[in-house]
């Protein structure tokens, strides 16, 4: 029974997926309801298996030491699994509204639910082999989501995503082979699997770590393997939000934390002196992401580049190899997830309601979509790292970690990037709230007005195309004061914003929870 309870969270979404995929079992109108039931049920199952179950490790299928499907629950699992399940539910509710106008929703929900199972698998993995298997599955499950729209652009982005991911995976395999050849085990252990360093060839350890770091780094958008991420923006917003905030990039980060602290161990990595080769990559990632974000006029692209930079923060925290740095990294993993998902949801709400995707189009929109933009602004403030928001807390720990590592340069990089972050996020809020829409969008408004008149006159003549929808929305913007999306979309955004501020004012909740991870890692 205990075994079943432990494995249920990994199985239930798959069963759910199979049911959703069949039109005969779940009718079209029940899909969303069923998805929400599955997700809620699974959340409860995750909670029971994480906290209410005495069984914490399980060999499911052990062929030999290498081919061993092994699940294990420790504090790091809890952090990641909880984060994923909670954000999944919020995203689902957002998607219910957002996907109404999209095609092939059934396909979307199928893979959406399936991906949750895979992500939880990543979290539950107890050794490198299982982690790797789930990691590869993740690429395959998310691909249909990325190319969901089916346009030429989406397909080519999907191709790019595949090539990058598999190239990274091959590097991971390389690292795994070397690691297995020198240690003979790949189980995650607190403080790493190396007992006595002198027994091993240090060059091989170094080599293996670099290969795995770069390999997992592909999913964590490490420069120069980052360019799939901005391209994957063609996906529908809930997908981009998930890709960016939780699913893909964070699984890369999670894997990196696993190999660094639970396979190699901080002391070994310090001893073989390997971080010096990786830090340049990370530093470039941090600065480059935020700098390129400054150049983007497309809202989602700007957020995408921002993700690259913020992931750099997390990687930097991981490579600091001290408790504060790790706390900072994990905190930022969580906080960035919450913040970025809020930002994406807001941007999605904007494009959903007004079909505006570029910054120059949104002037004055803040007055029409006040709640959306207030949430966007709070999330921006948090991402810059201004207290009292959660972004500051993680930045604080990263900074203290940098000082513990005796490196002022890291802090300089963090703060420089924070300045750029302010530079690319605040103008969005300022344009939306304070720039008078009339000057910039005089013509647009005039057009919109014409359209409204026309629309009211010949309402029946206009066919239900995308174009007419746009007209309806602009019409609505003038007719009714507020353009904020319906509660299904708005409530997740508001909840996330509350979390952002709440975790900023009372960060100790999470920090105490992370104590267990730190105890394992050091």
């Amino acid at each position: 029974m205990e075994k079943i309870i432990m494995l249920l969270p990994l199985g239930v979404p798959i069963v759910g997926t199979l049911l959703i995929a069949d039109k005969k079992i779940i009718k079209d109108e029940y899909v969303t309801k069923f998805v929400s039931i599955v997700l809620f049920a699974n959340f409860l199952l995750v909670l029971t298996s994480l906290f209410g179950n005495p069984l914490l490790q399980l060999h499911v299928l052990g062929v030999n030491d290498f081919l061993d499907v092994y699940f294990k629950i420790d504090q790091m699992t809890r952090v990641f699994a909880l984060m994923a399940s909670i954000l999944w539910i919020l995203t689902a509710f957002y998607a219910f509204e957002y996907m109404k106008h999209e095609q092939r929703t059934r396909q979307f929900y199928t893979f959406f639910t399936l991906t949750l199972a895979v992500i939880l698998g990543v979290a539950y993995s107890g050794n490198l082999f299982t982690l790797y298997a789930y990691y590869e599955l993740l690429t395959l499950c998310t691909l249909p989501l990325v190319i969901h729209t089916g346009t030429e652009e989406a397909l080519s982005s999907g191709k790019k995503y595949m090539i990058y991911s598999f190239a990274g995976a091959s590097l991971v395999i390389l690292g795994m082979m070397i690691l297995y050849s020198i240690t003979g085990t790949m189980t995650f252990m607190p403080r790493g699997i190396f007992n006595d360093l002198s027994n091993y060839d240090q060059d091989l350890i170094r080599f293996s770590y670099i290969a795995m770091f770069l390999g997992f780094g592909v999913k964590a958008a490490l420069v120069p393997f980052h360019s799939w991420l901005p391209n994957a923006m063609v996906a529908p917003t809930p997908v981009s939000a998930l890709l960016h905030a939780v699913a893909v990039v964070k699984s890369g980060v999670f894997s990196l934390i696993r190999i660094t602290y639970f396979v190699f161990g901080a002391s070994v990595i310090k001893a073989v002196n390997v971080t010096q080769y990786l830090i340049p990559f990370v530093v470039i990632t941090v600065v480059m992401g935020s700098l390129l974000a400054l150049h983007q006029d497309h809202l989602k692209k700007r957020l995408a580049y921002s993700t690259i930079s913020q992931l750099g923060y997390i990687l930097l925290g991981i490579l600091m190899l001290n408790p504060n740095g790790l706390v900072g990294a994990i905190l930022h993993m969580i906080n960035h997830a919450v913040i970025k998902i809020t930002l994406f949801f807001s941007v999605g709400a904007i494009s959903h309601m007004t079909h505006k995707k570029y910054i120059h189009q949104i002037s004055g929109l803040g007055k029409k979509m006040p709640i959306t933009f207030i949430c966007f602004t709070i999330a921006s403030v948090s991402l810059v790292g201004i207290p009292p928001t959660n972004g500051f807390v993680s930045k604080w720990f990263l900074g203290v970690g940098a000082l513990n590592a005796d490196n002022l340069f890291y802090i300089f990089i963090l703060l420089l990037s924070a300045f750029f972050t302010a530079g690319y996020l605040f103008p969005i809020s300022v344009t939306a709230f304070f720039v008078n829409g009339k000057q910039n969008a005089k013509q647009q408004n005039a057009k919109a007005h014409e359209i409204v008149v026309e629309a009211s006159l010949e309402k029946e003549a206009i066919e239900t195309s995308d174009h007419s929808e746009q007209m309806d929305h602009t019409g609505a913007s003038i007719a009714s004061e507020t353009l904020d999306p319906s509660p299904f979309m708005l409530v997740p955004i508001v909840i996330l914003t509350v979390i952002i501020v709440g975790l900023g004012i009372f960060p100790n909740v999470v920090i105490n929870f992370l104590g267990g991870v730190i105890a394992d890692a050091f």
Partner: protein, 684 residues
């Protein structure tokens, strides 16, 4: 719960409640805001007995991880008091000023938020709390600066926000260092360890002060000030100058006194920067034509005096009690008269919508109430005996003399003269302003508009004018607690404090004389052009070297361009190399396929190879046909052509399949090999 927490939370609540009320009824909201700020002021006043002889502290655990640590001593109380008073008066004033403006609800919301943040800045004992409130204040006041939403205010706002955030981040850098070296976040505890550190303490102090110096508009970080003050609605300008500027100075005092334990090097730096500020601000103020700009630069110049005072505290060390109380008093006084002057200016702007002194000259004739209040503000600012500015300036002058006595260094004699000359500059630009508005004749204005000056705007001015006179006439009432405070925090007792003496009045008169001379000789002669119909001031400083547009902007732009180029190269290099490789392979395979049409190709699909055979045979046949073709043969030729095109299509398809697979394999292999090589080379 504690009074301190209430003081902090009330304005925060007020912001939201006010916003909510304001959505329904603006009149009620205005009333609510006035009452609310009055309650807050009362709360602050009732706090006085508790902190009279001691400091009180309060700790709310768990907030922001480190807990919210509040502390109020006399310095902080003085700041709290002027903030509460200033907010109360400006709220009252705003209710009239804003009548014609849009987005009033939003304005009051941020107005109250800024209030809460400012109170937080003045009460924080934990440096992280301080930082939080300081940043929050910068962000919320941004909304006040750009309230008009025109191009000019956005430009000013950009400057303001960019500098505030940059300052905040630099400050955070300093806080990180401070925490790393001292292991604590409480300012008091930090101050015990900081002086024992080596030279790193200067780095920390300068980094932490950087953010405060931006807010205090210390040279060369003052560039945002004239723009922001001019762009903001007048009540906001009054608060920016009266209170927010003081948060910067307050922070500098905290760093010097509480963190650095009167470090002499930092003190001398501040002292010198103060002198630069006095003169730069003063000279630029003399040049300006916009009333708000004159007052803005005047704020910068006055900051210089206060900085000199702060510097003196450090220079005199344990004997600097007088200098400290003089500086705090100066900060209080400056808040009073600067807010009064801004309010006066606001009334003019409200009526005329114009602030250039060339256009509004003579406006104030026959507006006696306004004129008298304004005059009191001017005299306070000019340190005329009997007004509050005189008290603080005299004490500051005493402190300079004291420094001179204890060191006997020529430096202090020189700076004493500069101090008096700086006072002269103040007199000169205020004279320019006052004479232009209230004394000069202008046929356009003959005392009309009087009915537009409401009581709601005049009452706050009256209160401030009364306070200015009170402090000027009975300085000891306010000096006593300040001096007690100085003794309480460890300064040596201050024996003789005599504000009014023949000597001090003499110095004041010298300043006044210098000011009048500057006005007559420079302003009237060099900056004033006479026409037939009158005259106009011009501003020669417009073409001068501008730190922001001529130094900061180009450097930042060049850096930004450079970074962008480098990083977009990095961004694209992997893609570029990949594309290059792919193209190369494609070309190679293309070459292979094109030549192979005529050859026996092994890999083409079976169907195609059969067709190739057929076509080859047909081609042999066709060679033998003579040019004059028959119908059938022509048809055959057509078929042949069709077949060959079909074949080509097939081959192309095959080729495509091949290359897309082979390319990706090649590409993949190359990436792996590169990574291998890279890892290997580095690994060794």
């Amino acid at each position: 719960m504690n009074t301190l927490v209430y003081i902090l939370i009330l304005p925060l609540l007020g912001a939201f409640i006010g916003y909510y009320i304001g959505r329904k009824n603006e009149m009620k909201r205005d009333l609510f805001n006035v009452v609310f700020t009055a309650v807050e002021l009362l709360l602050v006043i009732t706090l006085f007995p508790a902190i009279k002889d001691q400091a009180i502290e309060y700790m709310v655990p768990n907030i922001m991880g480190t807990g919210l640590h509040l502390k109020v001593d006399m310095l902080r109380y003085a700041m709290l008091f002027i903030s509460a008073l200033a907010w109360f008066l400006t709220t009252m004033y705003s209710t009239q000023y804003l009548i014609k403006k849009k987005n009033r609800n939003r304005y009051y919301f941020f107005f109250m938020l800024t209030y809460a943040m400012t109170m937080g800045v003045f009460m924080s004992e934990n440096i992280i709390n301080l930082f939080t409130f300081f940043e929050g204040m910068s962000l919320t006041s941004y909304a006040l600066v750009i309230h008009d939403e025109d191009k000019y205010s956005h430009e000013a706002g950009k400057s303001y926000l960019a500098m505030a955030i940059a300052g905040g981040l630099v400050m955070l850098f300093g806080i990180f260092l401070a925490f790393d070296y001292t292991g604590t976040l409480d300012i008091g505890d930090m101050g015990k360890i900081m002086p024992t550190l080596g030279d790193i303490r200067y780095v920390i102090a300068l980094l932490v002060m950087f953010g405060f110096m931006i807010k205090a508009s210390v040279f060369p970080l003052h560039t945002w000030l004239p723009k922001a003050y001019t762009a903001a609605p007048t009540p906001s300008s009054a608060l920016l100058s009266g209170i927010l500027l003081k948060t910067g100075l307050f922070g500098i005092i905290i760093v010097l006194v509480e963190l650095m334990n009167f470090d002499i090097a930092i003190a001398l730096l501040l002292y010198c920067l103060g002198i630069i500020n006095i003169f730069l601000g003063g000279i630029l103020a003399i040049m300006q034509r916009n009333v708000k700009r004159i007052i803005a630069y005047s704020s910068m110049s006055q900051t210089g005096f206060m900085l000199m005072g702060i510097g003196l505290v450090g220079i005199l060390g344990k004997e600097g009690g007088l200098a400290l109380s003089a500086t705090i008093l100066y900060m209080i006084n400056h808040a009073f008269f600067k807010i009064l002057l801004f309010m006066g200016t606001g009334i003019i702007y409200m009526i005329l919508g114009e602030l250039s002194i060339n256009k509004i000259s003579g406006f104030g004739r026959k507006k006696y109430k306004l004129g008298i209040f304004f005059l009191i503000g001017v005299l306070g600012l000019c340190a005329f005996p009997g007004f509050n500015g005189f008290v603080s300036k005299t004490l500051l002058h005493e402190a300079i003399l004291e420094a001179h006595h204890s060191t006997h260094h020529i430096f202090f004699t020189v700076t004493e003269y500069l101090f008096i000359l700086g006072g002269g500059l103040t007199v000169a630009y205020m004279l320019k302003l006052f004479v232009a508005i209230f004394v000069e004749n202008n046929p356009e204005f003959y005392g009309q508009y009087n009915e537009q000056v409401h009581k709601r705007a005049l009452v706050p001015m009256g209160i401030l004018a009364a306070l200015i006179l009170c402090i000027g006439l009975f300085p000891n009432a306010i000096l006593e607690p300040l001096i007690n405070y100085a003794e309480y925090i460890g300064f040596e007792p201050i024996l003789h404090v005599k504000v009014y003496s023949s000597e001090s009045i003499l110095y004041s008169m010298i300043s006044l004389l210098i000011g009048i001379l500057i006005y007559q000789l420079i302003i009237r002669r060099k900056l004033y052009v006479k026409h037939e119909t009158g005259g106009a001031y011009f501003n020669p400083s417009l073409g001068w070297f501008n730190i922001e547009t001529d130094l900061f902007d180009p450097i930042l732009k060049i850096l930004y361009k450079l970074f962008s180029i480098v990083f977009s190269l990095i961004d694209n290099w992997l893609l570029f190399t990949a594309k290059l490789l792919a193209d190369g392979f494609k070309r190679i395979s293309d070459v292979d396929i094109v030549t192979s049409i005529n050859r026996e190709v092994k890999w083409v699909p079976k169907e195609a190879s059969l067709m190739i055979k057929g076509i080859n045979a047909k081609a042999e046949d066709l060679k033998n046909i003579d040019p004059k073709m028959k119908m059938e043969e022509a048809l055959e030729l057509e078929m042949f052509k069709e077949q060959s095109s079909k074949l080509k299509e097939l081959i192309v398809r095959g080729h495509f399949k091949m290359t897309s697979i082979s390319n990706s394999i090649f590409l993949f292999g190359i990436v792996v090999v590169f990574c291998f090589l890279f890892v290997y080379v580095i690994g060794n």
